[in-house]
């Protein structure tokens, strides 16, 4: 399998999905991102990101309950796949290593 890279928004969405656990559906993810990352982000951007991650095999989904508020439509609850976890870890590792290098050289930021 080819190695998939992820972008920053994808990384954030993946992290939020992990963090939200059973509540990881579109609106909740948007809310969490606005709250935690202070990003004013549109729902459509979340959707296309979710779609992309699902295509890449980093997210999987099942349908949750439908509410009146949702016009009778079911929620789609996302959860991370091993591929997704691996991608997240890779990103984190790369960053850590870079930070370590910067720190070890005592470079001023």
């Amino acid at each position: 399998m080819k190695r998939e890279r992820i972008g920053e928004l994808e990384e954030l969405v993946l992290l939020v999905v992990v963090y939200l656990e059973e509540e990881a559906y579109g609106n909740a993810i948007q809310e969490a991102l606005i709250r935690e990352a202070d990003r004013n982000i549109k729902l459509s951007a979340i959707h296309s990101t979710l779609y992309r991650l699902e295509e890449k095999g980093m997210l999987t989904a099942c349908f949750g309950d439908a509410t009146q508020k949702r016009g009778g439509k079911r929620k789609k609850i996302f959860s991370i796949t091993p591929a997704g976890s691996k991608a997240l870890r890779t990103v984190k590792e790369i960053r850590n290593q870079l930070w370590l290098k910067i720190d070890s050289l005592n470079l001023q930021l």
Binding site: G26, K42, L43, S48, K69, R70, G71, K75, K76
Partner: protein, 873 residues
């Protein structure tokens, strides 16, 4: 309570993948409701719109079907179609072979005939001025029939150019066969020589290799030679400026070289001489130069005119005819029959103009096109029949595909694809056949059509396209038929249906109607040929040959004749103005019948005394012309029976008659039994025969004895003795006779080949149908045999249906062919009777072939041991 904007919702539904829709709609609606509380309806709707459009933009380039797991990938599907097509085709090699072979034969016929038709239609089209050039054809009316001829007097062309400012260029034109051309005492090939005026190469697009178009022919004694002669016979020299000697009399200077003429023009020459050159010839006979070139008496030349573009040709026709008639010193009335300005492009297909030899009949182009279409049609019907007959075999596959989600259009596409595969195989095979048959076909037609794939790339692409189109057309019916099966029906029922039997029967009937029609046509053409060849011509053409009499020989003709007649194997020698089959000479006569004066034009044979002896003519009344009667040479006349009848001569012998050319009155001394001096297309017309050694030019000799070639050598020897530099080109009468009916015999040969192919292809189809039927009825036959049926019973059972179809075909094709054949026979004045036996014979041939096909297959099916077929039950 307010709801999300409808239009935005619709946009999402259109643009998003189906499996994503529910989530997106839900999420957006939830967000909308949240916004509604926090931000108000306006802002909520705005946000909804923003999200909808954002999603649409992001998903716009993603094919929503592509991500739908229930839809097959079209490319994979296509691969599968091709795979299945090749499997089905290779599993049923017999049927595939029949289809491919049939279509290939049909297509090959079409290719051949298309090439021929294209060539026939291309005549004169290469001339840049093709739409402005006309030929003036004098027309006359004789007993209600319009006569046309090529020949006009030499004065006409300059006269019209002078009188009509619409004329841009004009030229006189004529061709001579077998000229004597010499260079450096070497004789050049005796190819046709043409005479034309200075404007010739400006008018007609014959390219010059050397010389200037506008000046090459503008002086007397100028000649141009063709490129092939220039290259082969001038020892590698540039021929321009060389002098060639014509007829051992006139020196001509070569002023140019022209590219060899293409085959698709009515003109045929390898030398072309400037027109004023002939003045030198006439001056020898005591004419002035002006008389020779501008007279209105000797009608020997065609007149070509090139007009300014967009002229009213009808009006020009009338005014030119009027001017011409007045110039001839005759009276012109409004409404008289005008001469005809014949467009250059119409020359090739116009029949019945005297003096035109190299013309075709358009009807033959139509006949052959129709024949090709027929054969292709039969092959297409085969394809349809076999596909639908075997439909039930594939019904399961169709049902299964439909159950698995294929829609009708998928299946149509699949079956059309299979038809295309078959058509492609057929096209390749057809090109193979085309290559093999091409030389033979053009040999029969007597044309030499050059063809290269590179030059005719577009044409070849067209042929391939036509082949594929045929495949598509033939495949479309089975495709729609097969794809319309209901899966429930075909998967449930165990019995194998018979498909659409009525439709197949109709097609079979049509196929055989066409085949029978073509056979009847072939038999009729042959019968007419046979009739013409075996009708009593009134003269005997066996062992007679004839040749042109060159000048030196004519001067010493009596010596030549004397010498030959002393030879034991030479029966008679004569000289005349034509031989039967090729006699076109009209003279005017004055007669006195019962005190009444008649003045009329009559066909005339001018000869010496021995003409009747050479051709073994028969006398019905009076006596032959003879040297014993001194006055015969100027005053003796013979007429044929028809002349006696037509002119109502009550007592022909002794009737005073005077030729327009001679001064003294003569009389009729004998009546000759009618003989066919013109081809059988014409009725025998009145004929006058008289003596005049100044008007003759063709020698005919009857040889006897067994060793003809030895006798011929003797004659050639004598000929060379007197005229050493002239070629000795002779024609035997019976060869010439065949030449006369060339068009008919070509049609006969080709028709027989094509009708053979038609019945072959039709029988192929029949073979396919019968063997399929035998396979289906395997068990039925087994049961019947167990119950005591004999092999004959079973063969009868199998053939009965087809025989009924054949009878219907026969009933259809008889009236149609009767009508068409009679139309064709109309052109012959003497026609054979197409009796009952022609139809009987054609029907019998068809039945025999069909029964052979069916019988063989059903016999095979009937002889199978029932235990093999019934074992499984």
């Amino acid at each position: 309570m307010s709801a999300p904007p409808n239009i935005a919702k619709k946009i999402i539904q259109w643009s998003l993948p189906i499996h994503y829709l529910e989530m997106v709609e839900g999420d957006l609606e939830e967000a909308f409701n949240d916004d509604l509380e926090l931000l108000g309806e306006r802002q909520a709707k705005m946000n909804y719109w923003g999200n909808a459009l954002g999603l649409t933009r992001k998903f716009a380039f993603k094919n929503k079907h592509h991500h739908n797991n229930f839809q097959p990938n079209p490319f994979d599907m296509f691969k599968n179609y091709v795979k299945i097509a090749f499997r089905t085709l290779s599993k049923n090699l017999g049927y595939t072979g029949i289809n491919v072979l049939g279509l290939a034969v049909g297509l090959a016929c079409c290719f051949l005939i298309t090439l021929y038709v294209k060539y026939e239609m291309s005549y004169e089209h290469f001339h840049a001025n093709k739409n402005e050039i006309y030929r003036l054809i004098p027309r006359g009316s004789k007993e209600g029939n319009i006569t046309m001829q090529v020949w006009t007097p030499p004065g006409l062309s300059p006269f019209l150019k002078d009188q009509f400012q619409e004329v841009v260029h004009s030229t006189r034109y004529t061709e001579m066969s077998n000229p004597l051309m010499q260079w450096n005492n070497k004789t050049l090939p005796d190819k046709n020589l043409a005479l034309a005026d200075a404007a010739f190469f400006e008018m007609f697009s014959f390219d010059l290799v050397g010389g200037n178009k506008s000046t090459v022919l503008d002086k007397p004694n100028a000649v141009l030679v063709s490129e092939s002669i220039a290259q082969q016979f001038f020892d590698g020299k540039n021929p321009i400026g060389e002098v060639v000697r014509f007829d051992d009399m006139i020196d001509l200077e070569i002023t140019g070289v022209f590219q060899d003429l293409p085959g698709n023009t009515h003109m045929e020459f390898d030398y072309i001489v400037s027109f004023p050159t002939i003045a030198a010839v006439y001056v020898q006979y005591g004419f002035t130069k002006e008389q020779a070139l501008n007279n209105f008496n000797s009608w020997n030349y065609a007149t070509f005119l090139q007009f300014k573009p967009n002229q009213d040709i009808k009006a020009l026709e009338a005014s030119m005819s009027a001017a011409f008639t007045k110039r001839l010193g005759r009276e012109w009335k409004e409404g008289d029959l005008t001469d005809w300005l014949q467009p250059l492009l119409e020359i090739h297909f116009t029949q019945g103009i005297r003096g035109d030899y190299k013309v075709s009949k358009k009807e033959y182009v139509f006949i052959f096109s129709a024949v090709a279409a027929f054969i292709l049609l039969i092959a297409c019907f085969n394809f349809m029949n076999l596909s639908t007959a075997r439909a039930m075999k594939r019904a399961r596959e169709v049902g299964m595909r439909k159950v698995l989600g294929a829609v009708k259009s998928n299946l149509v596409f699949q079956f059309l694809g299979e038809a295309i595969v078959v058509a492609s195989l057929a096209i390749v095979t057809a090109f193979l056949f085309f290559e093999m048959a091409r030389p033979l076909f053009y040999h029969i037609l007597g044309t030499d059509i050059s063809f290269s794939y590179v030059d005719n790339f577009g044409f070849v692409i067209g042929l391939v396209g036509a082949g594929l189109l045929t495949g598509l057309l033939a495949g479309s019916y089975p495709a729609f038929y097969l794809s319309s099966f209901q899966p429930v029906e075909v998967l449930k029922s165990q019995t194998q249906g018979r498909g659409n039997a009525t439709f197949r029967k109709v097609l079979t009937v049509l196929q055989f109607s066409i085949a029978i029609f073509m056979i009847v046509g072939t038999v009729s053409v042959y019968k007419q040929m046979h009739f013409m060849k075996n009708t009593d011509l009134g003269y005997n053409q066996e062992q007679v040959f004839h040749f042109d009499c060159p000048g030196p020989l004519r001067d010493k003709f009596s010596f030549f004749k004397q010498t030959l007649e002393n030879h034991t194997d030479i029966e008679a020698v004569t000289i005349s103005n034509g031989v039967p089959g090729n006699m076109y000479s009209h003279w005017s006569y004055k007669l006195e019948n019962d005190g009444q004066k008649i003045s009329t034009n009559i066909n005339t044979l001018i000869m010496d005394y021995d003409f009747p002896k050479v051709f073994k003519l028969e006398l019905v009344d009076g006596r032959w012309l003879s040297p014993d009667y001194g006055s015969d040479s100027t005053q003796g006349y013979l007429v044929n029976e028809t002349a006696v009848k037509t002119l109502l001569l009550s007592n022909p012998i002794g009737t005073p008659i005077q030729s327009g050319a001679s001064k003294s009155m003569g009389k009729i001394v004998g009546v000759v039994k009618d003989f066919h001096y013109k081809p059988m297309h014409h009725t025998v017309e009145p004929l006058v025969m008289r003596l005049d050694m100044n008007e003759v030019g063709r020698v005919a000799i009857r040889v006897g004895g067994a060793n003809t070639s030895q006798t011929m050598a003797v004659i050639e020897n004598e000929f060379k003795e007197i005229a050493p530099s002239y070629p000795f080109n002779f024609t035997f009468m019976d060869q010439g006779f065949d030449q006369m009916y060339k068009a008919e015999s070509q049609t006969g040969t080709l028709l027989s080949v094509f009708s053979g192919l038609a019945i072959f292809v039709a029988s192929l189809g029949l073979l396919g149908l019968v063997s399929f039927m035998a396979e289906q009825k395997k068990k039925e036959i087994g049961v019947r045999k167990v119950l005591g049926a004999s092999v004959q019973n079973i063969v009868m059972m199998m053939s009965k249906d087809f025989m009924v179809l054949l009878c219907i075909s026969l009933l259809i094709s008889i009236p149609v062919s009767y009508f068409v054949i009679n139309q064709w026979l109309e052109q012959f004045a003497y026609k054979t009777v197409i009796g009952f036996w022609v139809y009987a014979l054609s029907g019998a041939i068809t039945f025999l072939i069909a029964f052979g096909t069916i019988g063989f297959q059903s016999l095979k099916a009937a002889s199978v041991n029932p235990t093999t077929t019934l074992r499984g039950e």
